[in-house]
């Protein structure tokens, strides 16, 4: 029993040290095992409200599309927007879709963007797919529009060439444009025709034949490249206009200011809680405080490992979970005060943990249920799929999980260790 306890306390200590290493600001793991080079940086990822950046929500106008094409259209739309977002070169940008009561939205997050106005303009502009003719000449080639656009394409798919087995992209032309398509391609046989999407080259091909109802783009490309090309042609063929319905831009300085203030407030609050615990529960209060510090260290390490994107509401969720972590200890100590009147320390301790467990379990499960609904891990479209509510719920849920561990494992074993002499 005694040996067992010592092992447990040492394990807790080791876990705390490991987490402490990860939690330490700017920590980095860099070592070599044989030929295996491990280099990992542990950083807290901060949300847009803390690090600064733009949160943009675009609404897609899918009213003119029938249901079967809608899904494909939204997928293409997302791909196009993702491409445009990548043009800004911001790291950790995020594009996601949401659907609520028939409204399709694209949510774009751009951390640390310097010119949000330009970003919203470029991302929100309706995709324009154009076919241009390259007129070779001296000293340089010139681009001339052919009059064909993405609107002339009905759809496109990736097909595999029967002879070579190579992927190629096949497309169909809409009925009304077939004569126009035939006219242009006849004129351009043997010449270069380039398809541009928002000024970027999608494909650069040489026209082989007159095309009217359909065509095929062949070349030396991989399956991924073919898929991408097909997506782009589809998005041009199904231009879904988008409208910016929400923009939230926070400057980096304001974000940094918020972080500094909340961290300061959190630390002062934490110190007050710790002092209160020592004043109220004496020796046990110190144990609760140690458990609380371990709670903090493990939590930050988990935030870094998952990683959890911290936002202001997320910090609030963390603070609330600190309250609940302390509550587990208070429940046990209050129980201990009662039980110790009737029995020796060791058994009073075990009974207190046993009895307090019912309350702790039922209360924390109730909170977890709420956190689960708010965090919406299954992405149910009728609930929040992004934003502050989710950030809050995730930190709250993690906090509860970790507080159960620190309350029931850490505090318990520390209490056993520190009350060992009370038995004799």
């Amino acid at each position: 029993m005694k040996k067992n306890l010592l092992v447990k306390v040492i394990l807790i200590l080791l876990l705390t040290i490991a987490c402490g290493f990860i939690s330490y600001p700017n920590s980095r793991l860099n070592f070599k095992i044989g030929n295996l080079q491990i280099d990992k940086k542990f950083d807290l990822s901060l949300g847009l409200d803390l690090s600064g950046g733009s949160h943009l929500v675009f609404e897609a106008d899918t009213s003119k599309l029938d249901a079967s094409k809608k899904e494909q259209a939204i997928k293409s739309l997302r791909n196009v927007i993702e491409k445009r977002v990548n043009l800004f070169g911001v790291s950790e940008s995020n594009v996601q879709t949401s659907n609520f009561e028939g409204k399709d939205r694209i949510i774009v997050e751009l951390p640390g963007i310097s010119d949000p106005k330009e970003a919203t303009a470029l991302i929100g502009q309706t995709a324009q797919l154009v076919f241009v003719e390259i007129q070779e000449g001296t000293p340089s080639a010139t681009i001339a529009p052919t009059g064909l656009t993405g609107a002339d394409l009905a759809s496109s798919v990736v097909v595999f060439d029967q002879n070579s087995g190579r992927p190629s992209v096949s497309f169909e032309v809409v009925k009304e444009s077939q004569s126009k398509f035939a006219e242009v391609t006849t004129k351009l046989i043997g010449k270069r025709m380039v398809i541009l999407l928002d000024q970027a080259v999608v494909t650069d091909a040489i026209v082989q034949d007159t095309l009217s109802t359909n065509g095929q783009i062949t070349g030396n490309f991989t399956v991924e490249e073919a898929n991408e090309m097909s997506d782009l042609l589809n998005s041009g063929a199904l231009p879904v206009p988008v409208k910016l319905v929400e923009e939230r831009t926070v400057g980096a300085t304001l974000g940094a200011d918020s972080v500094a203030k909340s961290v300061k407030a959190g630390l002062i609050g934490l110190v007050m809680v710790m002092v209160f615990m020592v004043l109220t529960y004496g020796k046990y209060g110190i144990i609760a405080d140690i458990a609380l510090i371990i709670f903090g260290i493990i939590t930050i390490a988990v935030y870094k490992l998952i990683p959890v994107t911290l936002t202001l509401p997320g910090i609030a969720g963390f603070l609330l979970s600190v309250g609940m972590a302390v509550d587990s200890n208070i429940l046990i100590f209050e129980r201990l005060k009662e039980e110790i009147k009737n029995r020796p320390m060791a058994s009073a301790l075990e009974i207190s943990f046993g009895r307090a467990w019912d309350a702790i379990r039922d209360a924390n499960v109730a909170t977890l249920v709420t956190a689960f609904i708010l965090a919406n891990p299954l992405d149910w479209s009728f609930l929040h799929v992004s934003g502050p509510v989710r950030g809050f719920a995730i930190t709250l849920a993690l906090g509860i999980g970790i507080s159960l561990f620190t309350g029931l494992v850490v505090s318990r074993n520390l209490l056993r260790l520190f009350t060992k002499n009370d038995n004799k």
């Binding site: 203030k261 959190g266 709420t370 709250l396």
Partner: protein, 274 residues
């Protein structure tokens, strides 16, 4: 008089006073809601909010209603012309608010129902579930009513963070109530000849034993929140105030709303059976 010979405070003797106190707060809150409504921010109504810093260091805030794209660009240009630095720029379309409200109501509805069933199952009685949910509703109403008053008198706006606060209080309130209920459950399981099986006595004894824990626990949360209100900065101040109101109400409602409802219900049932 108040303390019985079993060394417990006869809390339930004053239960109509607790109901009266709650009724006063609820009435004021609901009155304010009907009279002044809620001071909704752009998260609900749609619109534009800007915050920018002039080269002199002065920080300016501006708020507009729903604007067209050109008008929004003009507002942006205007900030640039003044040589000011954009600190915050938020545009919310008119369609966001209703969606936010609906999603939140769904979330509230689902979690309240799940919690009701969880409590009912764990305590093997639907009475526990419903009383706990009513106490939670009480806290939510007090919080929303309180912010209706704050909105009218101090121009505090309801934003997305407030929604988060209401949801937090939902879970805190139930958390706190379950701890008190747990003690009642324990006393019902283990028959104590001094207390007997009378629900009023059991409740009195359970409240006496859990009161210190409830207060101590709330103090720790209140410390954290007070610190946020005072030095946490503008962006979280009213959020912290909302949590503070909710925490105080949630602490009050466990012994003085959830338990009295349960006791009254049990007594009424007994009378009807007779």
């Amino acid at each position: 008089m108040i303390i019985s010979n079993q060394n417990m405070i006869l809390w339930m003797r004053f239960r109509y006073i607790y109901f009266a106190i709650s009724a006063v707060f609820l009435t004021v809150g609901i009155f304010s809601l009907f009279k002044w409504g809620l001071n909704l921010g752009i998260d609900f109504t749609g619109g534009v909010v800007t915050e920018y810093q002039l080269s002199s260091g002065e920080i300016k805030n501006e708020k507009y209603g729903v604007k067209s794209d050109e008008e929004i660009n003009k507002i942006r240009e205007n900030i640039k012309i003044q040589g000011a630095k954009e600190l915050r720029f938020e545009v919310v379309g008119p369609s966001i608010g209703p969606e936010l409200i609906k999603k939140t109501l769904y979330a509230l509805g689902i979690s309240a129902t799940l919690i009701l069933f969880w409590v009912a199952i764990q305590f093997k009685s639907i009475k526990f579930g419903i009383s706990a949910t009513l106490a939670t509703l009480h806290d939510s109403l007090i919080l929303i009513g309180g912010f209706s008053l704050l909105g009218h008198f101090m121009n505090v706006e309801i934003d997305f963070l407030f929604v988060t606060a209401v949801l937090t209080i939902l879970s805190f309130s139930v958390h706190d109530t379950i701890v008190v209920y747990d003690r009642i459950r324990e006393k019902q399981r283990k028959y104590d000849p001094v207390i007997g099986s009378d629900i009023t006595k059991i409740a009195n004894s359970a409240l006496t034993e859990t009161m210190v824990r409830s207060l101590n626990n709330s103090f720790t949360i209140i410390f954290m929140l007070l610190s946020l209100v005072l030095i946490g900065g503008d962006s979280v101040r009213w959020f912290a105030v909302a949590l503070l109101i909710g925490t105080i109400s949630g602490t009050y409602s466990s012994p003085f709303v959830a338990v009295p409802i349960l006791v009254t219900w049990e007594e009424l049932e007994k009378k009807l059976k007779k």
